[in-house]
């Protein structure tokens, strides 16, 4: 395949070849003018923190940053809905000239008085970094005066890319919440699920498995989380890290300060879910727990076996393309497509790291194209050339895929189908089938053209 790419983008695309240890250039700033699918530091911070349901998320900046992120996260809540509101200081020209600190101070006071929230996250946007508002000082002052925890999030958009934002969010959680309350120290089997955002209710699908093993989920970072759960997250005995791209940094910090070990897991796919449960049981060295885990796995696998065979028959031999934000889901997807008898011909991520790509390259079969920080033009060329049978991505990729006549499954943070756990896998397989086997694709094929006479 000969691809037409910009010179500075060439190194970001590689082909998996047998016996060659190679991976794409990554962890770099997006190339100006390349139409990257990435967002900014603020967006990175927002995706990590937004699912915290009872907190106020105040965006300190002009209106756009708040408007575009109002309720776009598909994270579900079992209770509070505060996180689905969009709060902004809506900075105007005079605020830019004279500074926005005073407005922020008054805004915070208003919010605390009206909502009495357990915490307020204040997100710095580009402009705040430029006009020099002292976010920390204002937040500190309001915390002191009102007693409400005000958390500054240093997420100025231009500071780097989304990964920087994930770090800013982790720092905010680590510096201002974790360790500020005492949790249940008596129960020996408390874990935190990190990088699990309860999108479409994923968390609710997997929590029962852990409960069944006698394992209590202390805090989830951050799906369906309440501020108070996060405060005592340091009391957990183990951190399970799913979305490695967003929260590995936090898990490392917690290990360093509180001595909590962490394990990388996936709750997506048969293999991933099975491993996550066995890893947990092995960690606690509890044979009863291990038995319960094995029983759960046996039972659930039996339940999904029939449906998966059904979908495998309908999907076998098709090819798949994957373009995700982070690498953890991409990796789990390659494995899942294998399970469904499908081959992955293209895999890419917005912000995968070197280690991630090494793993992706290892998992990918020979000939698979691997791409970092792709843009629509590259995706278009590659999807067409590779004749991908389905693309898994987010909203921005959806309509590109449709316009190319390629079936599509949404696996982003605004999806509405839960994909975690054993049943989640069946949901996923059903959606792949739904899009691949729709009659619409036969209608758009050339032989169906409208002819004269």
């Amino acid at each position: 395949m000969t691809l037409e790419v910009l010179k500075d983008r060439k190194d970001h695309i590689v082909k998996k070849r047998k016996d060659i240890r190679d991976f794409p250039a990554c962890e770099k700033e997006s190339l100006a003018g390349a139409v990257s699918q990435r967002a900014c530091v603020y967006s990175g911070a927002r995706v990590v923190l937004n699912p915290i349901t009872d907190a106020i998320h105040l965006v300190h900046g002009p209106i756009g940053c708040a408007s575009y992120t109002w309720d776009i996260r598909g994270s579900k809540s079992g209770g509070a809905q505060t996180y689905r509101h969009s709060f902004s200081t809506d900075l105007q020209e005079e605020d830019i000239i004279f500074g926005g600190a005073e407005k922020l101070y008054r805004a915070l006071n208003e919010l605390v008085a009206r909502y009495r929230p357990p915490a307020v996250f204040v997100y710095a946007t580009c402009i705040v970094g430029l006009i020099g508002d002292d976010l920390k000082a204002v937040c500190g002052r309001v915390t002191e005066e009102t007693g409400c925890t005000i958390v500054p999030v240093q997420s100025e958009g231009f500071k780097g890319n989304k990964t920087e934002g994930h770090k800013a969010a982790c720092d905010a959680l680590f510096d201002y919440l974790i360790g500020t309350a005492i949790g249940d120290n008596n129960y020996p089997y408390v874990i935190n699920l990190m990088g699990e955002y309860n999108v479409a209710g994923d968390f609710w699908a997997i929590e029962p498995y852990f409960k069944d093993m006698g394992v209590k989920v202390g805090a989830t970072f951050t799906g369906n989380a309440k501020v108070n759960d996060l405060r005592s997250a340091h009391c957990a005995k183990l951190n399970l890290v799913q979305c490695t791209g967003t929260v590995t940094y936090l898990a490392q910090k917690m290990e360093h300060k509180y001595g909590i070990p962490w394990r990388k897991v996936s709750f997506f796919g048969l293999e991933g879910m099975e491993e996550a449960l066995l890893t947990t049981a092995a960690f606690f060295r509890n044979s009863l727990m291990l038995d319960r885990a094995k029983e759960t796995i046996r039972r659930e696998k039996k339940m999904v076996f029939g449906p998966l065979i059904f979908y495998k028959k309908r999907l076998q031999g098709k090819t798949a393309a994957i373009y995700m934000g982070g690498a953890a889901k991409a990796l789990a997807l390659i494995k899942t497509f294998k399970l469904l008898g499908m081959e992955t011909v293209l895999v890419g991520t917005q912000s995968g790291k070197k280690d991630d790509y090494a793993q992706l390259m290892a998992e990918a079969s020979e000939g698979t194209m691997v791409i970092d920080d792709a843009n629509p033009a590259e995706l278009k060329e590659m999807l067409t050339a590779l004749k991908a049978g389905v693309l898994v991505g987010g909203v921005k990729e959806r309509y590109l895929s449709y316009k190319l006549g390629i079936p599509f499954v949404d696996f982003n943070h605004d999806r509405t189908s839960l994909f975690a756990g054993f049943d989640g896998l069946v949901n996923f397989a059903r959606l792949v089938d739904t899009t691949i086997n729709s009659p619409v694709w036969a209608l758009v094929e050339g032989k169906n053209e409208l002819r004269n006479g």
Partner: protein, 432 residues
């Protein structure tokens, strides 16, 4: 709340500029700012129109922000031109680049000289996000484009039609259908085919369609101009009239019977032609539909809201013609003309956010909500239907295919409103 906007009823200026540039044939847009701005706006637009929407970014980082974004903007222009081969590139600024004080005109001129770019038109427009809203960004981009491209010249028998409000691709097509019967015309910016695009045999990087650059040049030769919308676009009317000598007048959006009458009468007056019989016929079809519906709609109470004042006013006029009561009429960004014209409503809210609007909605009896999809929370709370109009519509298909203009559009609206009321009242009663 005084210092916090809760659930905003507006988006920022650069998004409007992106929309306007999308209405020029062969155009691409570079958002000069951090990578997130372009990505978020793409997401917002792509979700609304259900079309892929490519917008480039100069992707400024920390260093560029300290030392200026010139190098990044030049690189962005170079890469976009290499990859997309556009005829025109619109460059919008953001709060970031406005605040660091980048002189985009100078940067663009330097770029053209350094790279010897002669065959691509580059149009910078200043659209900081800390002032104005979407429609202002739209109008500023239209103004900037006219300023760069349009030439003065001897007047021809031609009409310029320029929207200064949030109108859909399908509404652009309707205006063009009507104009085809009247006089030669130039519609700018025409994003009908670029934002409601077909399934292509082979997907182009830049979608075909849009006002041709040659046409934009000829706007200055039009003998008259119509700006669709009265709450914004004064800059455009002034520019056409004063700079190019094109007698421009602003009209309300042709929504509902009377406003459509005004539109047709103005066309007849400007062109000196009689209104074609088919539109008299369509008008009578509308009257017939309104009579059929009048008992169903009479006295029904509606709240209308959005970020575009002209669209909100247009919807309000239409429902008033149906005997409905506009209980609340609300527009996000401040707009004096809207407040002046919105008098028929019981409550006028401007400026407003969805928090304040929701409080007003709680306080009054309502049968119907009309506005963008962000009204879904109010509809759910109040358990009344929401008819989705305006921008954004993120939870239904066909936002770009909605068409409420002219007698034809109104007929669809009358049925939709009446049927929604019926559906909500009783599913199984025959109309009597």
């Amino acid at each position: 709340m005084n210092y916090v906007t809760v659930n905003p009823c507006k988006v920022c200026q650069p998004l409007g500029a992106i929309l306007a540039f999308r209405g020029i044939e062969g155009a691409m847009t570079v958002v000069h700012g951090s990578q997130g701005c372009s990505t978020y706006m793409r997401l917002h637009l792509t979700h609304h129109f259900a079309e892929p929407i490519d917008v480039a970014s100069s992707a400024l980082n920390e260093k560029d922000t300290v030392y200026g974004g010139a190098a990044n903007l030049k690189l962005a222009l170079k890469n976009v031109i290499a990859r997309y081969k556009p005829a025109l590139v619109g460059v919008t600024t953001t709060c970031l680049t406005e605040t660091i004080g980048d002189d985009v005109n100078r940067i663009v001129n330097e770029f053209k000289a350094e790279e010897q770019v002669n065959d691509v038109i580059i149009i910078p427009v200043s659209t900081p996000s800390y002032t104005g809203a979407m429609i202002d960004g739209f109008n500023l981009a239209v103004e900037a484009t006219l300023n760069v491209l349009t030439e003065e010249g001897e007047k021809e028998n031609c009409l310029a039609i320029i929207p200064a409000a949030n109108i859909t691709p399908a509404e652009i097509r309707e205006v063009k259908r009507i104009m085809d019967n009247f006089a030669p015309f130039i519609f700018f910016p025409d994003y009908a085919d670029t934002l409601d695009a077909p399934f292509f045999e082979e997907l182009p990087l830049i979608f075909p369609g849009g006002t041709k650059i040659e046409e934009i040049k000829r706007v200055g030769r039009c003998k008259a101009g119509i700006i669709l919308g009265v709450c914004a676009g004064k800059n455009l009317a002034r520019l056409l009239t004063e700079k190019f000598g094109v007698a421009a007048r602003q009209l309300p959006l042709p929504v509902g019977l009377k406003a459509t009458d005004v539109f047709f009468q103005t066309l007849a007056e400007i062109t000196g032609r009689t209104i074609p019989a088919r539109y008299q016929w369509e008008r009578r079809l509308l009257l017939d539909a309104m009579i059929d519906a009048h008992v169903i709609t009479y006295g029904k109470r509606v709240a209308i809201f959005g970020d575009d004042a002209d669209l909100v006013l247009a919807l309000a006029r239409l429902v008033v013609e149906l005997g409905m009561v506009v209980a609340i009429c609300a527009v996000g960004p401040p707009n004096k003309e809207f407040v002046r014209q919105g008098a028929a409503a019981e409550t006028i809210l401007n400026p407003v956010d969805f928090d304040e609007l929701a409080q007003a909605v709680r306080k009054t009896r309502l049968d119907l909500l009309m506005g963008n999809s962000k009204g879904k929370f109010m509809a759910k709370e109040k358990n009344i239907p929401l008819l989705r109009f305006g921008f954004p519509i993120h939870d239904r298909l066909g936002a770009g295919r909605q068409q409420i203009f002219s007698y034809r559009g109104a007929i669809q609206m009358v049925d939709l409103i009446a049927n929604t009321i019926l559906e909500n009242e009783d599913l199984f009663v025959s109309i009597s």
